[in-house]
């Protein structure tokens, strides 16, 4: 239960970190919050030759609002910041609502948004939530042999980033630098709910829903993203069918929840059979869609709402 030996550097500059990662080759690992990687080291499931610690790279932290109303989150933004930050509460309320459900407080103190996406655990909240919000991931690496010297960057929609369990588009010499979240409209509502046997444990299943209405209450957009109900985060196909172009009545929300329940791909384990998980997904989707619809109708999703849960 002790990590195997490795070399360690903690650069303060991103280019220095990228160069160190490129130099160390495929057997190096990047250390973000460490709340998944360090347990893997302790179990010796990972044995990198070198760790490049990003915790001192100031360029990777910070939460900013762009002129268009979208948000830019540094990759080293901690879950605790999502939970407490006023800008997040106002402009990405889904993240503020869900953050307290990510593990326990001492894990949220350290865990980072970039780390969560790079780890790509199907039970993790953030990849599913960011997918629902239409976020994109900015990654950087040092120039390779034959390229002009400097930093090489690319941006991927989250949809093209997480492929499967613990499997992403990130290459061995790349580091996630920031997450971009597009602006949310005035008649947009989001909601999140998950169920775990004990608060802070991995959710047996979770759901996040998003709805956009027009002035007359007609649904313009409806989407659902599930947690721990498939190999990788994906928007549930077909949930918009019963909703878009019509007001989101109870019957139509229920129909959408049935679609999600039938269309998800939960893996049974000791905590619940497939049938149980499908039932749970149906309930969570129905609740979150209904709440997203109410919030959209109310004009704007408040940061944390308590009156109706």
């Amino acid at each position: 239960m002790k990590p195997p030996p490795f070399d360690y550097v903690a650069p303060t500059d991103l280019d220095e970190a990228l160069a160190a990662l490129a130099d160390a080759g495929e057997d190096a690992r990047v250390l973000a919050g460490g709340q998944s990687l360090i347990p893997m080291l302790n179990f010796r499931l990972a044995a990198p030759v070198k760790l490049i610690d990003l915790n001192r790279v100031s360029e990777l932290s910070g939460i900013e609002r762009r002129p268009d109303g979208g948000l830019v989150l540094g990759a080293m933004t901690r879950h605790r910041q999502l939970e407490r930050d006023a800008t997040i509460a106002e402009y990405a309320p889904l993240l503020a609502e869900a953050a307290p459900w990510i593990a326990h407080a001492p894990i949220r103190t350290r865990g980072t948004i970039g780390g969560s996406i790079a780890h790509a655990d199907p039970a993790a909240e953030l990849p599913a939530l960011l997918l629902l919000l239409g976020a994109s991931v900015r990654v950087a690496r040092a120039a390779r042999d034959g390229e002009a010297p400097g930093r090489v960057e690319r941006t991927l929609p989250l949809d093209d980033f997480c492929f499967g369990p613990f499997f992403t588009a990130l290459e061995a010499d790349e580091v996630i630098t920031r997450i971009d979240i597009p602006p949310c409209g005035p008649l947009e509502g989001t909601a999140f709910e998950e169920f775990a046997r004990r608060r802070g444990d991995y959710a047996i299943a979770g759901a996040a829903s998003r709805m956009i209405l027009d002035e007359d209450g007609t649904c313009l957009h409806a989407a659902v993203s599930l947690i721990n109900a498939g190999p990788a985060p994906a928007l549930v196909a077909g949930v918009e069918e019963p909703l878009v172009g019509r007001p989101p009545t109870e019957d139509r929300l229920a129909e959408a929840a049935d679609v999600a329940s039938a269309g998800c791909d939960p893996a049974p384990d000791m905590h619940g059979s497939e049938a149980y998980r499908r039932h749970l997904v149906r309930v969570l989707v129905l609740r979150t869609l209904a709440r997203a619809a109410r919030r959209a109708a109310a004009g704007r999703t408040p940061g944390i709402e308590t009156e109706d849960g």
């Binding site: 360690y8 460490g34 179990f43």
Partner: protein, 165 residues
């Protein structure tokens, strides 16, 4: 493997040591720092026994490297009593007094981690409901108490802290 120089302030005292990069903060505290009040249970972030405060925020010391605390302030159970930066070793913090009063520990193995989590929690939530307390301690395993008296202990600690010293 390279060696790393770590200079940190632990319980108000400056300490500087050379460590192997793979040394966990929990092992650093119990070994080179000589502070065995921090207990090590699962070593993968589940049991909460090793929780300490890093710059005032609760962290699992088994999920951090000692090398990462360079330039930081750490509070362990030994430094809980007394005012920030000036620990009163041997004295009891109001949360410790409350746990004593309400019989909130039996074997005591999980207690140091819980005390530090609760210290950070009560700072942020000075008048918690019992539900909030249950949530706050949900990241800690205790195999003796059944948690009931821990919840009572935290509620009592909130009262003692409100009364002042």
């Amino acid at each position: 493997m390279n060696e790393i120089r770590v200079a940190a302030r632990i319980n108000g005292e400056d300490i500087s040591r050379t460590v192997e990069p793979r040394m966990l903060l929990s092992d650093f505290l119990r070994g080179p720092a000589g502070l065995t009040g921090t207990h090590v249970g699962c070593e993968h972030g589940v049991c909460g026994a090793c929780t300490v405060l890093l710059d005032g925020e609760p962290v699992r010391s088994c999920l951090m490297l000692a090398a990462q605390i360079d330039g930081c302030a750490v509070t362990t159970v030994e430094g809980l009593a007394g005012v920030a930066g000036e620990p009163d070793v041997g004295a009891l913090h109001p949360i410790q007094r409350a746990f004593h009063e309400t019989h909130a520990l039996q074997c005591g193995f999980c207690t140091p981690g819980i005390l530090l989590s609760v210290a950070a929690f009560l700072e942020e939530t000075p008048r918690p409901t019992r539900d909030e307390v249950r949530e706050a301690i949900s990241g800690h395993l205790c195999r003796c108490t059944g948690y009931h008296n821990i919840v009572e202990g935290v509620v009592r600690a909130a009262e003692l802290l409100a009364e002042g010293p």
